[in-house]
Structure formats: C-alpha cells, structure tokens
Amino acid sequence: MPAQPSPAPSPAPAPAPSASARPALRDRPFRLAVPPVSGMLRPRLVLTGVLVGVGAFALFCWGLALGDYPVSLPDVVKALFGVGDPGTLVVVRDLRLPRALTGLLVGLAFGVSGAVFQTMTRNPLASPDMIGLTEGAGTAVVAAVVFGWAGGLGLSTVGLFGALATALLVYALAWKGGATGYRVILVGIGVSWICTSATDFLVARGNRFQAEEALGWLVGNLNGRTWGQVDSLAIALAVLLPVTLGLGRWMRTLQLGDDVAAGLGTPVQPVRLALLLTGVGLVAFGTAAAGPVAFVALACPQIALRLAGTSAPPPLVSGLTGAFVVLGADLLAREAVPGTELPVGIVTGALGAPVLLWLLVRANRAGSGG
C-alpha cells in the first residue's frame, strides 16, 4: 500500500447561503435554570402547527355555519360558547356539532396514526390505510351488518376489533426477526386486498338494505354523526394522543434504524409495540367513528413534514393537518354537488390519489424506503 499522507479533513464546502430557513425560523435552544427544563425551539414547526390549527378551526366553524338554516360565522363562534338565541344554539350545538367534531377528531386521529406508522417503518407508504387496517375494519363492520352481529356492540366497536385483528395479522405475517419497511407494506397490501374481496363478497351476499347501510359506512362518511360517536373517539384521543407525544423522544432515535436506536439506549421492542398499539388504536377508533376516510393517514403526515421542514412527520402537526383536510373535504363534499351530500371519503380519495402517485414516483427515484 502506498504511503498515503492523511489528508486534512476534506475542504468543507461553504454552507449554501440559502441552505436553511430564514434566521427567524431557525431552530434555537432554550434552557431554563428553574425548573431545569431545556430543549430545542423549532419556530417553523410551531408556526406551521399554529397556522394549520387555526385553519382547521376556521373550517370547523365554517362547516357549522353552512346548512339549510344559515348561521353567520360570529354567531357560530358565540353559539360554541353557549351564547345566542335558542334556535341557533339547537342548530349549531345539537344538530351540527357532532358532525364537525367527528370530522375534526377523525382527521386528528388519522393524521397522528399515519405519522406514527410512517416514522416507525421509516417508509411513507406504510400508513394504516395502505396496509389494510381500515379495510380490515370495513370487513368486520360489513360482516356484522350482514350477519346481524352488531346488535349489542355497535358498528364502531366491531370496526375497532376488525382493525386490531388486521394489525395483528399483518404484523404476524410480516414478522421475520422484526417487522419493518417493505415487508410490512407488501404483506399489508395483500391483506388489504383479501379484506376488500371479503367485503365485496359480503355486500353481494347481503340484501339491498344491508348493502346500502354497509356501503354508506365503507366510503368514509360524516353524515348523521351522533354524540355517542364523538364521545368514544374523544376519550380514545385523550388517552392515545399524550401517549404518542410521550413516545416522541424515542421516535427520534428509532428513525435512525433499530440498531442505532438500541445503541442510543432506546428500548426498541417495547417502544415499537407501544407505537404499534397507539397507531392502531387511533386509526381503529377513527375508522369506527367515520369509516375508512381514504388517504388522510397517508397524505397528511407527508404534507405536515414538508410544511414544517422536519425529517420525520411531526405527530401533532400531522394530526392538525388531518383535521384540516377532513373538515375541508367534508365542506367540499357537502357543497360540490348541490342538493346531495357526498361522503367525505370520496373527496379525500380523489384528492389523495395524486399524492400517493407522487410518493410512489419519489420513492422509486430515491430508491429509498427499506
């Protein structure tokens, strides 16, 4: 071997002038003496979260204002705080609020769940609506409708068990010394098609009334929501959202790969299991409340990631983006065709398909994803 003089660290290319965000949006550390709290302040992430959150709230109010009995936006906001004439209060709080809240919470649940799955598998395609969880919930619900099981349980609970069972199945089939990346996606797509076929079979087998009831649920729908659906979803979110945010610290190391994460002191398998359970729980409760609203869990985390300029989908901002998208899509669904209310899933499906194509093209080009 020739005597190779060790070179000085290769000349560092000067940092590109516009490499990072404008100075005001750059990350900066903060450190308090008492209490000893410290961390990294991410202005761009915070700003994105606030803007998307405000946008979602605006759509929420707008949705409450629209309808056969129009209410002005200021009156809607007042009515939310219990101020206004009794007629307006009844329309806003009793008739319209469950639908709007379901949309808000379902979007939140799907967005956070998508962020969890995409971070955990390090692959944007591994979102719960791609790997069969929502389809599994759908099959369970249709089976319950057709066979008349739903009586005591309610469709939502059945959907919940369907999603959980499918998650277990995908995880078990994809397990080979750890379940990651493309194996989960390929197995998930297979399972998803099996569920879709089973659903089609059940719909064909059931009578016309049952088929209609099932189909209304299968596309993802916010029509005719009740407080019961809002309550169970709100309770689920109140438990699962803090858990997910608490696991955020480990998601940051898990993102570097299992071995690196373990080397950095991450309890990899317990964290993975906890993330899986919260992710499945969120999507299961969301699906139970509104049916499988297509593409929200896939697209919203990717949108949030690009808006916030982070390297992994930020869970909370993904959730807010999900809420924004579901509420916006619901408005479109209600207003696009005069006289009919389309199911919200049709609109998110139409909007989400191009996002999926774009992700596929990109993943191929980058050759990444394992």
Partner: protein, 305 residues
C-alpha cells in the same frame, strides 16, 4: 498490556481505567445458524482493537453481541464484571456506543440534529438540551471537522462526510467504549484514512476504548494496538499486529498466501498478497507476471516453496 503511555503529556486522560469489556464462553447464532462458538475475549481497555477475518467469519456478529444488539445463546458479555443483560438500557448507552455498518439517515435530517440525537441517553423528556449536551455536540462537530456543515442535510453530504457525521453522533454520545462495524466501508482510500485518523484521535486524546471490524489488514495493523483474527466463529490469533499478522496466520484465516514486509511509514506489518498470477521468485514482479502469463489457463499455479 504494556505500560507505555501514548497520551501526549499535556492532555489529561479522562478515564485512566475505563470499563473493561469481556466475553466468556460466548455462543452466538443468527437465524438459528450457529456463527460463533465458545469464544473468550478481553478487550484491552483504552486501546484500539481491530477484528479481522474473511467474510462471514462472525466478526460483525461478535461486535453486535458485544453491544448487546444480539443476545448470546450461551455465555456472557460483561462490562466491568457485570453481565451486559443486567445493565439498564440507558446506563449501557452511556458507557458503550455502537455504530452499525452503513447506517442510513432519514431524508432532510441535518448534521447538527443527527449529532444531537447521540445525546439521547443523557437526556430526559424535559431536559433535551442541557449545557453538557451543547458542549458535547460542539466538541463532536469540531473533532470531526463538521462544524461548517452542521446545518446541512446528511443525505446531501459526500460519503466520507456522511460517515464522519455518524461518527460525530457516536462521539457526542460520550461513551468510554466505542464499537464500530466496518467504519470505512464504501469510502475511497483518502476518506478511509481520514476516518481511521479520527478514530485514533478519539483514542489518543480521550482515552476511549475502540473496537472496530476492519476489512483491510494493512489498515488494521497500522491503526490498531490489538488485532483479533477470526475464522469460522473462532479466534485464531490475537495480540499486537506484529505477532498476529504473519504469513502463516493470513494463509490460515483468509486462505491467501502472502508475504509480509514492514510498512515503510509505520513499521507495522504490511501484507502483500500473492494470488495465482504473482509470486515472488526474487526477480521482481515483471518477471513473475510474464511467467504467470505463459502458464496455461487451467494449470496448477506453480508453487514457490
């Protein structure tokens, strides 16, 4: 271990005696296939150890077991006499760092953010950027020459810079023991030397114990204080490079006949492989080459001995 002190006099040795890593009666398997059998090993504290061997001899598997990424089938790995399995995850991550082979950074992750994540065993949910974290990250960036590139995404860097960024993460972790799995893979020669020089700095300046799996025997001889040669899951020879890297050992371990001469720069052993077409007849390489060419394709290579 000799008592010569490689540390320059001015620089204090942070941990004169760091933790001792050793394995006893280790049996390791991968996918049910036994890879390492009944292996005993004591890693010299405060030195650089290189594990060498042919492909699939179990060297990476051994490194993974030393880092607790792989549970032994039998036997134990001990850190200062405590079984690795009984050490809490976080505590282990403050003592022992591991850099797996060719890790992949997520798209858009900046160098500073990656290096910062090396601090996670020292952080809590509410304390994610202490003064110690900041200082460790700054020092790691400076040691790896990446200060200027701190705000750049890792995936936009060159291969050598990228590898330095990962090493910087491991440096910021601040562990007295550092395990590196083929840190020079896929790097060009200049960047390989660059990375190995950096590893030497970490050892000489900060007294960190380093264990690395290396492919290149000459680099192992030059940069390691202690060389472990493995074959089929067993240690064939270990000790100072000059004791381990001999013509007989190389032939045994790599199934390759060679000559050993002193490295003209470092004086450590340098392996000159023979192969089928080149062998030393004492008349220089040209002669040997033409001789080799005159042989028919399927002829048994002429033996020199």
């Amino acid at each position: 271990m000799s008592t010569t002190d490689p540390h320059p006099p001015g620089i204090p040795e942070p941990s004169a005696r760091g933790p001792e890593l050793r394995a006893r009666g280790l049996h390791l398997a991968y996918d049910g296939r036994p890879v390492v059998a009944d292996l005993d090993l004591t890693v010299p504290t405060g030195r650089i150890t290189a594990i060498v061997g042919a492909n699939a001899c179990g060297k990476s598997t051994l490194l993974r077991a030393l880092a607790r990424l792989l549970a032994p089938r039998q036997g134990v790995v001990e850190l200062d006499g405590t079984t690795l399995r009984s050490i809490p995850t976080r505590e282990l991550a403050r003592t022992l760092g591991i850099l797996p082979q060719t890790p992949v950074a997520p798209e858009g992750l900046t160098v500073a953010d990656l290096v910062n994540r090396g601090r996670s065993p020292h952080q809590t949910w509410w304390r994610q950027w202490s003064a110690a974290d900041e200082e460790a990250v700054r020092a790691a960036l400076a040691a790896t020459g990446l200060t200027e590139l701190a705000d750049r995404p890792v995936d936009e860097l060159s291969g050598g810079q990228r590898q330095r960024a990962w090493i910087a993460m491991a440096v910021a972790q601040g562990t007295p023991v550092l395990l590196l799995d083929e840190p020079t893979t896929y790097l060009d020669l200049a960047h390989q030397i660059d990375v190995l020089d950096l590893v030497t700095d970490l050892n000489r300046r900060e007294g960190r114990t380093v264990v690395m799996v290396l492919h290149d025997l000459n680099q192992a001889c030059r940069y390691a204080d202690h060389v472990i040669a493995m074959k089929a899951g067993r240690i064939v020879a270990q000790g100072a490079p000059a004791e381990v890297v001999t013509e007989a050992t190389v032939e045994d371990v790599f199934d390759l006949r060679c000559r050993i001469t002193p490295d003209p720069v470092s004086g450590t052993p340098m392996v000159i492989p023979l192969g089928r077409h080149h062998h030393d007849g004492g008349d220089g390489p040209r002669e040997a080459e033409s001789e080799a060419e005159s042989e028919s394709e399927d002829a048994v290579p002429a033996s020199v001995d």
